[in-house]
Symmetry: C2
Subunit: 402 residues, 2 copies
């Protein structure tokens, strides 16, 4: 434990720990500052210990402009003013000690344990992650599936989530969710039940990981810690605000190869997670449900808008996560019927064959609208398949059509 704590006390770690308290998640100016100046110097500038060099402001502007519209950028002076009130609260050593005491740690992008897939967020990649749970590699992108949905899930949503999470965990995949009531809780719980390997499930929190929130999920989140991981980009003690929930959703989407929305209302935070996944060009799945259920309206909206794939079981979800070419065979193909391979003429002939009494080739030719030669040849083929039988010189259907 002591060793682990010491490891985390490098200047880079301390700086990122402090920055994560100084700035809200996805503070564009702050993230750009860190990218341009590095975490250690970025913190010095952000806290006013060091004045920004002459080119810095320009570099940040260019970086932000390169990363899409950044309406909130109004110069470094404004950002410094924004950060200033939190400077007195910075205590990275204390935060790291808290994590160590909880059996957790801080990880930063240069760590081996850092999930590589977060780099896809570009400038929105978090400054660090506060991690509660055993020290073990987090799963690779293709093994991670986000299951998200309404807090007020129905029994249908609970049952589908349970089936999906359990089966995915049994396949050795990791179920990522947000630790909330409803779909999130069902997802974590079933993944814990189904998974035998490492990290069956990960909870990504909107607030600090020192507290298990919501309190009704405390036992569940403790179990997630023991078998998987509970993560946040905000430091211990941070409240789970609405803004942080929305930012947290981008982490769920970025960690996962597929984001599946199991149940969501027409307006739902789960749709926000799905949109983050789409932005990252990650697959989005939506579980269909009754058109009468308000809790499926958001899923149907996703399907209708074209961004989501309809998923009904774990195999279909896994297929979305699989690199192309490794998709699982479809196991739902109903057994082919004997008549499936028939030509059009033989199908017409089969239709014309009576079920009980027998009939002649001449009559079959008239009924089927086929020449007598064709009928004879076709009867031969159908006979081989057991689809036609000859009795006392006439023909009728064979047993294979039953």
């Amino acid at each position: 434990m002591t060793g682990a704590t010491e490891t985390t006390m490098t200047p880079e770690r301390l700086a990122r720990a402090a920055l994560s308290r100084l700035m809200e998640p996805q503070d564009a100016a702050g993230l750009a500052l860190v990218q341009v100046a590095g975490a250690v110097d970025g913190l010095r500038i952000a806290t006013g210990q060091v004045a920004a060099g002459p080119g810095l402001e320009q570099e940040i502007s260019v970086l932000l402009a390169d990363n899409g519209p950044s309406a909130s950028w109004s110069g470094l002076a404004a950002a410094l003013k924004r950060w200033q009130p939190r400077i007195p609260d910075l205590a990275p050593e204390r935060d790291l000690a808290t994590m160590a005491r909880l059996g957790g740690r801080l990880i930063v992008p240069s760590d081996e344990l850092w999930p590589a897939q977060l780099a896809d967020l570009g400038i929105q990649e978090p400054i660090c992650l506060w991690w509660r749970g055993h020290e073990q590699p987090l799963p690779a992108l293709e093994s991670s599936i986000a299951l998200v949905g309404s807090r007020d899930s129905t029994s249908y949503g609970a049952s589908v989530t349970g089936d999906l999470a359990y089966s995915l965990a049994q396949r050795g995949m990791t179920v990522v969710s947000g630790g909330a009531y409803g779909i999130d809780a069902h997802a974590h719980r079933a993944a814990l039940a189904g998974g035998s390997g490492a990290v069956p499930t990960i909870a990504v929190m909107a607030g600090g990981v020192d507290r298990f929130y919501p309190s009704g999920n405390e036992d569940l989140l403790r179990a997630v810690c023991n078998r998987g991981a509970v993560l946040a980009e905000v430091p211990p003690g941070s409240a789970p605000t609405r803004y942080r929930f929305l930012q947290r959703n981008r982490l769920i989407a970025a960690l996962s190869a597929v984001t599946v929305v199991v149940e969501a209302r027409w307006r739902s935070g789960a749709l926000n997670t799905a949109h983050h996944a789409e932005t990252l060009c990650r697959a989005v799945g939506a579980v269909p449900g009754s058109v009468h259920s308000a809790n499926s309206a958001g899923c149907h909206r996703l399907l209708r808008d074209g961004g989501a794939v309809c998923v009904t079981d774990a195999a279909e979800v896994a297929e979305l996560a699989a690199p192309s070419g490794t998709a699982l065979p479809d196991q739902r193909q109903v057994a082919a019927q004997v008549q499936d391979g028939l030509t059009l003429e033989d199908l017409i002939l089969l239709d014309a064959l009576p079920l009980r009494s027998t009939t002649s080739v001449e009559k079959l030719a008239a009924v089927a609208g086929l020449g007598q030669d064709s009928v004879r040849a076709g009867l031969g083929r159908l006979g081989l398949l057991g689809l036609a039988v000859s009795e006392r010189g006439g023909w009728k259907r064979g047993k294979a059509t039953d």
Copy 2:
């Protein structure tokens, strides 16, 4: 009545009536023969009264080759042999008289009453249509919606079909279906209930329209006749064979701007109709349902394969039928919330405002991670929206957030 019957006794009409008995639906060689030689001469050739001219076989080959793979074309001689057994049964005058007696008629592509949208079938356009019901124009493509699905529909399927068909008919649209048990019957019945204008519903039959099939739907199909139309491309007396069911499906798809599959098993004739619609570049809708319902598995398959749009109510179906630009406004938008238009900073500030006790600008700046000037400006904006209120020099949330 006599006048109507006389009108139908032109050589063209008689020839097409006879051809529809001689050939199975979508007999590629026969359809090509009629297109190249015309119906009257085509019938003479098909029945052996006239020998085919020297270039005819070649013309048919070219026409068939132009219309995609035609594996069944094995020369005119084979086709003549196929048609030969039915020549003795030809009695077009009798068939036309039967239709007149039933209050019906035959229509051919040159008739004003011929549905123009069937031309989209190209060489697969039927030779004629046997029509039972009042003589009135059939609806235009954009007013026709096919609702199709399983015979063994669930109560969910029945309820959704009823809602859709009733609402579509109330909007003045025509519901096209196949007259079968299950979804088809629910669609016809609810359209009759909801429609007040002309042709609320059309049944396209796989067998002859002289018999109402299945017999359990006799009353329903009689009502469809009285208010709408019952159509078939096969002549009176024809049995509804499996092959004819599959061919009939292409007519349902071709008559309709949208084909909606309400309930279908993984393998279902309704999927065949949907594929016909796709081939014709017509919109396909699929109604989602429980992932536990085998009767929705075919719908989910359509959604998953990407060809179908998820539809949950009549407005969404109508939107698929509407020429682009005339789509109906989405009426399901939930009332926007007061905080929807807020900037990121104001949203963070709103989150930071306490619900009951008040707090200071300084504290808000620290909690929200914003400069004090920004907090003051933001509080002004939130105050105007009723989202923040000032009490005894402090700030808390306003009533508008409740």
